[in-house]
C-alpha cells in the first residue's frame, strides 16, 4: 500500500468513516462468535452449567476425531491437486500473448463466479453411473460394469479441486508476474537446464504466491459444504455436514458450537502455519 504520510491530510479520510462497518461487525460478527464460544463452554443445552464437557466429548470420541482428521486430509489432497494443476496454468499465462492471457484468465475466473451448486451438479453428471467417464470407458470396452466414482474420496477430491482451482491459480499468476524474467535467462545462460531453473529459481521465487494460493484453497476446500455432501453422499462425513447435523437435525447447539470452535481453530492453525511459512519464504525469495 503506497501510503504517503506527507500528504495524509489531503489523501486520507479519517477513521470516522470506518465506524459504521466496525459497529456492524461488532454486533453481527464478533458478538455472534463470542456467543458461540460461550455456549460451547456449557455442558447443557440451556447454557446453565459451565464446563468443558462438549470439548471432552469431541476429543475423546473416535468418530468425531475421525471426521476432523478426514476433513483436514481432504483439504491437503485438494490443495496438492490444485497446486500441481494450477502452477502450469500460471506458467503458461506468462508465456502467451495478451489475447490468450485474457482467455486464460476468463477460463480460470468463470468457475469462481458460477454457482457452486451448478459446478457440483456438473460433476454428478460426469462421475455418475451413466456419466461421461463410465460411458466412454464402456464404449471403448475397457470396463464391463460402471465404475463407482460418485460417493468416493477420489470423486470428492477431483470435484473440489476443480471448484477451488481459481483460488490457487490467481495468486500464482500474480506471483509469477513479479519474477524478473532476466533471472530465468541468467540461470539458463549459466548452464542450468530448464528443469533445474524451474525447481531452483522459479519455484522458490514464487513461494509467496504458492502459499497464498494454498491458504485460500485449503480453507475453501475444507468448508465446501455443498460439494462435500453432494459428491461424497451419505457415506462420507466431513466437519461442515457434521456441524450442520448436530445443529439443525439434532438441535444440539452446545455440541455444534464446540464443533464450530474446534473447526475454526483448525482453520486458523492451518492459516497461521501458512502465513508463517509465507513470511519465511519472503526472506528466502528476497523479493
Amino acid at each position: 500500500m503506497g501510503a504517503a504520510p506527507a500528504s495524509r491530510d489531503v489523501t486520507s479520510y479519517g477513521m470516522g468513516l470506518a465506524v459504521p462497518l466496525a459497529l456492524f461487525f461488532l454486533v453481527f460478527f464478533v458478538a455472534p462468535l463470542l456467543q458461540l464460544l460461550w455456549l460451547s463452554l456449557h455442558n447443557d443445552t440451556a447454557g446453565l452449567h459451565w464446563g468443558l464437557g462438549q470439548y471432552l466429548h469431541f476429543l475423546t470420541d473416535p468418530f468425531s476425531l475421525s471426521v476432523l482428521g478426514s476433513t483436514l486430509l481432504l483439504g491437503a489432497e485438494v490443495t496438492a491437486v490444485c497446486l500441481v494443476l494450477g502452477f502450469p496454468i500460471a506458467w503458461l499465462y506468462q508465456r502467451v500473448g495478451p489475447k490468450l492471457q485474457t482467455v486464460i484468465i476468463l477460463i480460470v475466473l468463470l468457475p469462481l463466479l458460477t454457482s457452486v451448486v451448478v459446478r457440483t451438479f456438473a460433476w454428478i453428471v460426469i462421475l455418475g453411473r451413466q456419466g461421461i467417464i463410465n460411458a466412454t470407458l464402456q464404449s471403448l470396452g475397457m470396463i464391463d460394469t460402471p465404475l463407482k466414482l460418485l460417493y468416493t474420496q477420489f470423486g470428492v477430491v477431483i470435484a473440489l479441486a476443480q471448484v477451488q482451482m481459481p483460488l490457487m491459480t490467481l495468486p500464482l499468476i500474480t506471483a509469477l508476474g513479479r519474477i524478473d524474467p532476466n533471472l530465468d535467462d541468467a540461470s539458463c545462460s549459466l548452464g542450468a537446464g530448464s528443469w533445474r531453473t524451474f525447481f531452483r529459481v522459479v519455484l522458490p521465487l514464487s513461494l509467496p504466491g504458492i502459499i497464498a494460493g494454498c491458504t485460500l484453497t485449503y480453507a475453501a476446500a475444507i468448508t465446501a459444504f455443498i460439494t462435500q455432501s453432494l459428491i461424497g453422499g451419505g457415506q462420507m462425513l466431513f466437519m461442515p455436514m457434521y456441524l450442520y447435523q448436530q445443529a439443525s437435525t439434532l438441535q444440539n447447539w452446545p455440541f455444534a458450537s464446540a464443533i464450530s470452535i474446534i473447526f475454526l481453530l483448525a482453520v486458523l492453525a492451518v492459516v497461521s502455519v501458512f502465513t508463517t511459512l509465507g513470511r519465511l519464504s519472503r526472506g528466502y525469495g528476497g523479493a
Binding site: L92, V125, S194, F263
Partner: protein
C-alpha cells in the same frame, strides 16, 4: 552436442508444463460445457451424450414455481446485501486504505476475516444471536448475514483502487482551491468507481450463491435458490436443475463479459 541436449531438455520441460496446463484448463471449463449440453437433452436422464436434443426442460423450468420463488428471494437478498456492503464497505475502505496506523491495519484484518473463517460456523452463530434477541429468521436476517460475508470483497477492491490513486492528483486539486468534497466527487470517485463496481459485482455473485449462511438464516417462507437446488439434487437427479444450471451459466458468462468491459475484472484479480 551440448546445444542439442539443452534444446531437448528445455523442450521436454515446456512440453510437460504446457500439456498439464491445457489438461487443467480443460478440467476447469469442461463441467460447465457438459451441463450446458445435458440441459438440452430430450431424454429423462442425465446420460451423456444425450439421446436427442430439445428445449423441453427449459419449458419445464418455466413452470417450476418453487424455483421461481427461491430465485426471487435470492435476488432480493443479494441486491440488498450488495447495496449495504457498498455503503458500509466503501466508507470503511476510504478510512483505512491510505492510513498507516495500527488501528487501520487491525480493522482491515477484521473486515477480511469472514473470507477465511468457516462461514457455516458464522451462520450458526448468527442464528443463535438472532434467536437470543428474539428476531425470527426473515429476509432481514438473511441480508445482515450475507452482508457480513460479502462486504470483504467490496472493501478489498476499493482499497486496491484507492492504493493506485496518485496522491499528487488530490494535492493539485486542493492547491487549485477545490474543497475535499468536490475533489472526492470529481476526482476520487470517478477513478475508484471501476474498483467499487468490481467489488460489488463479486459481492452480489457470492451472496446469490451463498449456502452456509442461508442454511441457518432462512426458512420455508424465505427459500433461497442454491439451497432449493441442493435439496432437489439430494432427493432426485432432476433434469430441470440442468436447465436451471444452463440459465445460470449463461447469465454468469454474460455478466462477466459486461464486467470485463466496464471494470477490467481480470486485471483487477491478478494484481
Amino acid at each position: 552436442m551440448a546445444g542439442r541436449k539443452r534444446t531437448l531438455e528445455s523442450f521436454s520441460f515446456e512440453l510437460v508444463m504446457t500439456v498439464i496446463a491445457v489438461i487443467a484448463l480443460v478440467i476447469i471449463i469442461a463441467p460447465s460445457l457438459v451441463v450446458l449440453i445435458v440441459s438440452f437433452t430430450s431424454g429423462f436422464s442425465l446420460r451423456f451424450p444425450p439421446p436427442g436434443y430439445s428445449l423441453r426442460w427449459y419449458a419445464e423450468l418455466w413452470n417450476a414455481w418453487q424455483l421461481h420463488f427461491a430465485a426471487k428471494n435470492s435476488l432480493i437478498v443479494a441486491l440488498w446485501a450488495t447495496g449495504l456492503s457498498v455503503v458500509l464497505g466503501v466508507a470503511a475502505a476510504l478510512a483505512i486504505a491510505r492510513s498507516p496506523t495500527l488501528s487501520a491495519r487491525l480493522l482491515d484484518s477484521l473486515f477480511m476475516s469472514p473470507l477465511v473463517l468457516p462461514a457455516l460456523a458464522f451462520g450458526l452463530a448468527a442464528l443463535m444471536l438472532f434467536s437470543l434477541v428474539g428476531l425470527p429468521v426473515s429476509p432481514l436476517t438473511l441480508v445482515i448475514g450475507h452482508t457480513v460475508v460479502c462486504v470483504p470483497y467490496v472493501v478489498r477492491n476499493t482499497v486496491a483502487a484507492l492504493a493506485q490513486l496518485e496522491p499528487t492528483l488530490l494535492e493539485s486539486s486542493a492547491v487549485l482551491g477545490a474543497s475535499r468534497l468536490y475533489t472526492f466527487r470529481r476526482i476520487v470517485l470517478p477513478l475508484i468507481r471501476p474498483g467499487i463496481i468490481a467489488g460489488a459485482f463479486i459481492a452480489f455473485m457470492s451472496s446469490f450463491d451463498n449456502v452456509p449462511v442461508s442454511l441457518f438464516l432462512r426458512d420455508a417462507a424465505t427459500d433461497m435458490l442454491p439451497i432449493r437446488m441442493w435439496q432437489d439434487l439430494e432427493g432426485k437427479l432432476d433434469v430441470t436443475i440442468a436447465a436451471l444450471s444452463g440459465v445460470l451459466i449463461i447469465a454468469t458468462v454474460a455478466l462477466v463479459a459486461v464486467m470485463e468491459r466496464v471494470t477490467g475484472l481480470s486485471r483487477r484479480l491478478t494484481n
